[in-house]
Symmetry: C2
Subunit: 115 residues, 2 copies
Amino acid sequence: MSYDYANNYEKQMKKGVLEMLVLKLLCSGPKYGYQIIREMKEKSGEIFLLRDGTLYPILYRLEDDGLVASEWSGGEGKQVPRKYYRITEKGAAALEDIRAVWQRISGGVDQILEG
Amino acid sequence: MSYDYANNYEKQMKKGVLEMLVLKLLCSGPKYGYQIIREMKEKSGEIFLLRDGTLYPILYRLEDDGLVASEWSGGEGKQVPRKYYRITEKGAAALEDIRAVWQRISGGVDQILEG
DNA sequence: ACTATATACTTTGTATTACAAAGTATATGA
DNA sequence: TCATATACTTTGTAATACAAAGTATATAGT
């Protein structure tokens, strides 16, 4: 049986873009982890199916860099405590930079693939 | 001074795509290392500026996987010996698979970025 | 009440890969 | 002769997607 190249290439091609996509989703308001996973799945047309072990480290990195900020909510009544993440001003500015990088790279790729 | 996010994201976003682009360039005929670096630079519009320490490990991986084959040439007269790489049938088939992955991922990214 | 399941978050370890950097060797031009 | 460009090799580092295992709470089913 042949090795599944596609699977590994898909994993590699996601590198860098997932943080960008998380920042983008947070532009429409604060969200908690599992909510981000659901929206990522829906809005990408089932293409980005994040595991929790993938998302949370991304959120921690973004928070360490000051691109998002978090706040615990719930736990008072009977709700499960949830950690809500919101994008910061610094994060919004970084998102614009990262989008520009994506446009550049994906444009260059298509130029070679179609050339 | 602020950290240069763009630089790191660019590096991450290249992961996986460089092998695809090398395979694509080899579709138009066998090429040696530095020739691939030059064509990658020209045909991408100066976007993909590979260092030799980046390209050669890619070629070795592709060869290990049987997606390209190599052959030394020159060295008989006064030419510098060059190792020419050509894409194999297996490599051509893999390229189609990898391109499909790229279309899928980049399409999903744009769907979220524009949504 | 008890159990199973879903939700929610955390942490550890692995594999992969772009890149810097240093090294070897040959050809060409000043 | 010496500097530079070409050509290939190898080592080490940083970054990140993912699997996997763990903790805790709420809800539904029996």
